[in-house]
Amino acid sequence: MKCFFWLIIGLLASTSGLAQLQLSGVIYDAESKEPLPGAIVSIHELDVSIVTDIEGKFLFENIRPATYHLHISYMGFKAQTMVKSIRGQGEYLRVYLESTALELNEIIVESNHYKTGPKEQTLSMEILDAEFLAKNRKGTFVNSLEDIPGISAINTGVGISKPVIRGMSFNRVIVNDKGVKQEGQQWGTDHGLEIDMFEPGRVEVIKGPGSLMYGSDGLGGVINIFPPAIPQDKEIEGSIQGIYKSNNHLVGSSTVVQGKKNDWVYRGRFSTQDFGDYRVPADQFTYNGYILPIYNERLKNTAGQERNFTLMSGIKKSWGYSTLTLSNFHQKAGLFVGAVGIPRSYQLDHDGSYRNVDIPRQETKHLKVASNSNILIGGHWLEMDWGYQRNQREEHSDPTAHGQQEGPDGTKEHGLDLQTLSVNTRYFWQSSESRTRIIGIQGQYQWHDWGGFAFLLPKFRTSNIGLFLYEEYSWANRFTVTGGLRVDYAIRDITGYSESDDSDFFQYNEDIYRTYFNVSGALGMSFYPNERINLKLNLGTSYRVPSPNELSINGLHHGTFRYELGDSSLGTERGVQMDFGLSYQEKDFSLVVTPFTSYFDGFIYLAATTQFSSDFNPFLPAESGQIYQYRQNDALFAGAEIAMEFHPLKALHWRAAYEYVYNYNLDTKLPLPFTPPGSLYTELEYGFELNHDWLEDIHLGTHAKWVFDQNRVDRNENTTSGYWLLGLNAGMGIRLGENTVSQLSFSAQNLLNKEYYNHLSRYRLLNLPEQGRNFVISFQIPFAIK
């Protein structure tokens, strides 16, 4: 990394002879024509922002001649994004902001890939800021996104969850954390997303195919997680957050210290979570014909701990910026005792503690080093997101329960160790204010090793390289057209594995070496004849290279309660996807309808076979059940999200969102597994500013979610009845000092303590209901040292 910085400094030196210009201007209220003090003006490319002074003025000095994206935002006004080519004498701007009551319009869209405003984009996107994330804080980062239309979560208990976008999950959703694709073991149902829920500062969810710019796996959608912005005016500042949840007595904390000194910026965060066994509104459940006890209504051994840290340092100059982030996620989470094998009543006796983590359990470590840079080269911007990740996952269970003697691995059943190197480089060629070209190259190299007393996934190495070209052109202030083309080449190199003893020999998988080549493309259009209406259409082909587990898995996977078998002959999964967006916006009303449909050629999924695993693999414990093998079938997806926001009064906010996904396997004539049921979410919130001595503002709200029956299920999958849940939330800003306002929030989830089943929960397979009533108290206290 050191030489990388030298390279930048070298670049800096070579271009330092260039002229340094000024970018200045005034921000006005479009209605009253009065200047707006306190508005935030940011330059995307330099990752800097300033606040306008008492006369609404702002000034950036030492600006190099180039094209910049400016974001202007102010509470209560519609955020604006503008493209400015700054040459010659610099630039003086007058910007008029329109007032709005819609919170979503206040958020700036500053995606790294799509820099233009929301109306110019051709794919539908949800942008969530830190305030939304803090308000919707649930058990995990993924659960905070669950109420957004089109997004659901696959849960294992309360601490483990993975994202689902429009009914697609596992390797069909890309999560980019700081521009680097998160590579854990995302193929597993019980493998949660390894993200510290306190760290994201802003999240962008792209619904629909993201393969073009993000590569293989982006079929369902992309979740981009950005770190919080670094303050511009403080040398040292920070905050302490705390959270308590009544249901499982969770205590969480997150402390951040960050600052800026001259051109140097830094941030450090440390977060913890400690939780006990969670409570369900039932004292027994039925399985295998037995009524089994749930001692004191708490699910035995579902406690866990999390310790995460992030360290970031970087420089910001007039030629761009470069940051280096080191982070580590460490979670130890217990699994319900009955989750491995068949639950027996004698296992369910109380073990004396609600906070211990016994076996079965999983322990996940995710170390990541990410380097993010944006450098001005030749008058255009070169963006680089490079990363190294190591995901170490251990699943512990009792070997004797599997008919094996306790060996050197102890209770470690699976130890999966995946390391990934990623290189994403994009060159933004902004030939004019209305035309952008992006040339990108993406590379990834992975190596995997394993340990533990049971085989699941062999050693493998994978490499992918992709090249893409993306063009965006806007004209007449009402049309934007985007288009792109991508070529990819991928290698899957999997090492064979066999096991033998005196009497038996079993070949789990042979050596597999396969290469894949793919060409894909997309075309999009956005039409915005006026401020109110926006129509979007996106048509694209997407693809996904089979993942190593799909080619070679061979073992009992407790995540799905079945024996999973790969197929080394699988080919690339290809899709043709069509997405629409129709939006209508008034000052206090917004309606967004986003229908979609797609056709997949060779959709890969786990299909039931007619074979039992017990006499297939001689090294398997008895009672291992049916074999499920990865298979490719043609499939169809369709669905829509409808979202509405209305402010009958400025202080009153009403939001409603509906989502539905339909899918169909054209070969089996059945739905695909793990399809989220349709749902309707609505929230009503009343919030007002008080400007009292110590009470800054207050908000009170209630929300409800109706989840409909899921009767469209795959073979051997259970239907799940619908339910509805009620929640409450309240919050206030408490003034502690002149510029310090701390936030105190209170919320209640599942207020009526309903006993319900979640179709996407792993414990659904055990007939276990979901978490009961939960009261959550959280606070955030900021501090500024210098």
Partner: protein
């Protein structure tokens, strides 16, 4: 604009169009198993062949069924594995919509005596499988006996073997008997009084009642002994059953005296007799 509208129409119609296909008869129902033999609690001698009799039904076509036997020793809170326990796991092809299967299962002559789970599962030609979640897979407990395990004799005061115990409510039970190991030594004896899950009724094994806390349960370490008398072990105990205890029982449930002995080799034997009150 017109073009956009056409696209839109296509989108809206497409799902409706395909959903018609759902009415096609796709086989999604799992086979049904009716296990006739063995029955829950049945004793099987090591070294003999056990005949499994079952009826398998499927609405379209059967494909495979499996028989699994593995020990359930952990279930008795000891969890010590002295020897490798017997386990059996085989699957068999089967055809048709209604088949009576008879399968011989050889119980290893070396099998450790004790409680075993006997599991039967089936898959049809489409891949629909029976499941534990909805109780369509069958699981019962069988007891394997062998030559070397301890023998438990339950007797009356006159040393005559009994098959039920007479008791009086409110008075201490008079328990007599002997646990002996002719070919080795004993390890421990577990004496309990409680209700016992009974043999499968006509409805399969759908009893669904948890074996709750026993009225009496005590474990006695008798390591190295070859013979012990129950009346000696229970010399300082008086087990009294009251009407309240009987009221706790559900209909069709009875109280049992259960004696379980583990020998030095890990064999578990059990003798249980019903307790009668006048």
């Amino acid at each position: 604009m017109k073009k956009t509208k056409n696209w839109l129409l296509a989108i809206l119609i497409l799902p409706a169009f395909y959903s018609c296909d759902d009415d096609d008869t796709v086989d999604t129902s799992a086979p049904q198993i009716t296990l006739e033999d063995p029955v829950n609690g049945e004793a099987v001698a090591a070294g003999t062949a056990m005949d499994v009799h079952a009826d398998l039904e499927d609405d379209v076509n059967l494909a495979t069924y499996s028989i699994t036997i593995h020990d359930n020793f952990d279930g008795h809170a000891h969890g010590r594995l002295l020897v490798e326990n017997f386990s059996f796991s085989e699957s068999y092809e089967v055809e048709g919509t209604d088949t009576h299967v008879i399968q011989e299962v050889n119980i290893d002559a070396e099998a450790t005596a004790g409680p075993y789970h006997f599991i039967m599962e089936a898959i049809d030609a489409a891949g629909n499988a029976t499941s534990f979640q909805d109780d369509s897979s069958i699981e019962i407990e069988i007891w394997i006996t062998n030559e070397t395990m301890a023998h438990i004799h339950l007797m009356d005061a006159n040393d005559a073997e009994i098959d039920e115990l007479e008791g009086t409510l409110g008075e201490a039970l008079a328990i007599y008997g002997e646990v002996e190991d002719e070919s080795g030594t004993l390890d421990h004896v577990l004496i309990s009084v409680g209700h016992l899950e009974e043999e499968a009724g006509a409805d399969g094994h759908d009893h669904g009642r948890i074996l709750e806390d026993n009225i009496f349960e005590e474990e006695y370490e008798v390591e190295g002994e070859t013979s012990v008398l129950l009346q000696d072990l229970l010399a300082n105990e008086s087990i009294i059953i009251t009407q309240a205890d009987l009221d706790e029982l559900e209909e069709e449930e009875h109280l049992y005296l259960i004696v379980q002995a583990t020998d030095g080799e890990g064999n578990i034997s059990r003798n249980a007799i019903e307790i009668h009150f006048d």
